[in-house]
Symmetry: C2
């Protein structure tokens, strides 16, 4: 085995860009070999969402207890709700040689980057900010004020692109999915990640 | 258009690793969108090779005149023969926004890296050095001394892996082809390559 530790794959990007839709397309696809790290949140369940599938839905009190117990890789408060990534499953998965996929908000991604600088950071971007506005209005779950607020946040979040390894534009879900799969494949062949073990392996004359 | 200049893709690796076979698989595949930079060489044509398809076959005298005229991106003398990459077609192709693919020897790749640090460098590695020896013997075109010499050279060439961005093990040609395609797709989304233009593009509210 060339690369016994799995990759930590972080998909993030502005709120409303379609991270959840792309993540679903990835995990609905038969070629996907990585594990999904289900986030925890205190926000309300949206129509069609399932507890333990889309998110673990928790109360604020429960969430704050887990923070106190240091049970998150990252967590963030965003539009009055907490979002976080439980630590145990992620660590088990990569230590077991499998890739783990995190779909998280940009503030959380920043925390992951500090703790796991070798993780793979993919920024999902809207085709333009105009598209992002359309998506948020189309979703119909947020008020005008919240949408305006989100667009301002999105502008700031776009500035955070510089912290990512790759940028994928979400103009077509299946194209974005394919690109993300290619990025993961490529990173398994990133020389910096594999050189040490590869060198040892290649010099064995079998 | 996000990335108007094409990528220069450099596939290299030890002699005998199967660069030509992988390159053929890439260009026989309908998904391949990049252009092939046909190398020039003074070595003898092997059975099945075609002048102007596999290489431009030239005499030593002709090759040396082109060196004098500065008509190569890189050239190298290897096992008494010259191998080189003609410059004009490469530059035209990337300036035209298309990717150009170079399959070259490791000495040449080193020269390309000095001149084009932004090129994409992929190292094709044998599963082990034992496999490389088998391939060279199986090819049946080289004497025992040349094979021994090549294995020694290959060991030195493996040390050059550190100069590459990616390492692909050639244990199965079609798998290597797919991996290389994924790497090229990924690099088109490499944040460092595209950030500046992307930022300008995204902030347009259309």
């Amino acid at each position: 085995m060339i690369n016994p530790q799995g990759l930590m794959i972080v998909l993030s990007g502005p709120s409303g860009v379609g991270k959840g839709t792309v993540r679903k397309a990835i995990f609905d696809h038969p070629d996907t070999e990585f594990e999904y790290s289900i986030s925890m949140t205190t926000r309300n369940m949206r129509e069609g969402e399932v507890d333990g599938v889309d998110y673990f839905f928790k109360s604020k009190k429960e969430f704050e207890q887990l923070i106190a117990d240091d049970k998150f890789i990252e967590y963030a408060q965003y539009v009055d709700n907490y979002y976080g990534t439980p630590v145990d499953y992620c660590i088990e998965t990569i230590n077991d040689g499998r890739d783990i996929f995190l779909e998280i908000e940009v503030e959380g991604a920043k925390q992951v980057r500090e703790k796991f600088p070798n993780a793979l950071f993919i920024f999902l971007a809207p085709p333009t900010l105009g598209h992002l506005e359309d998506r948020l209005i189309g979703r119909g779950t947020e008020s005008d004020d919240i949408i305006k607020n989100r667009i301002e946040t999105a502008k700031k979040e776009l500035e955070m692109m510089s912290l990512y390894d790759y940028v994928v534009i979400n103009d077509e879900v299946d194209a974005a999915r394919q690109t993300i799969q290619s990025i993961v494949t490529a990173e398994h062949h990133n020389r910096k990640r594999i050189e040490q073990q590869l060198r040892k392996h290649l010099l064995e004359v079998d």
